[in-house]
Subunit: 80 residues, 2 copies
Amino acid sequence: MKATVYVTIKQNVLDPQGSAVQGALHSMGFEEVGKVRVGKYLELELDTTDRAEAENNLKAMCEKLLANTVIEDYRFELEG
Amino acid sequence: MKATVYVTIKQNVLDPQGSAVQGALHSMGFEEVGKVRVGKYLELELDTTDRAEAENNLKAMCEKLLANTVIEDYRFELEG
């Protein structure tokens, strides 16, 4: 089973990396770029066929390691 | 217009960050986790209504700044 996890910074939390990317794009002439938010994208292969268990475990992985839930949101998709 | 950019490490390139995450998840008891790949996920607001121009500019942004095309792949989606 393949899992895709998206970790994004919460809307009301400052994203200095996003601001830096926005500034860089502006200085390169891409003036149309507004707010930029940078997050993480993870692809995991899971050796299981139990979808419910996979979802529970993924939730635990995100809460405990992959996302800092104080400042980040996460969501995941399961395939296969 | 809102753009979402995914930057991933190419399949044949080593991903030490992914390996570290895999090792950490194993040591936390998630033995079912196989290969892990870590990438970037960017959300950009674009102040334009010209979809074709937005696509061209996004391609240029990815090639020049957002992705290192020697070791990374990118793809993007446009909304609105």
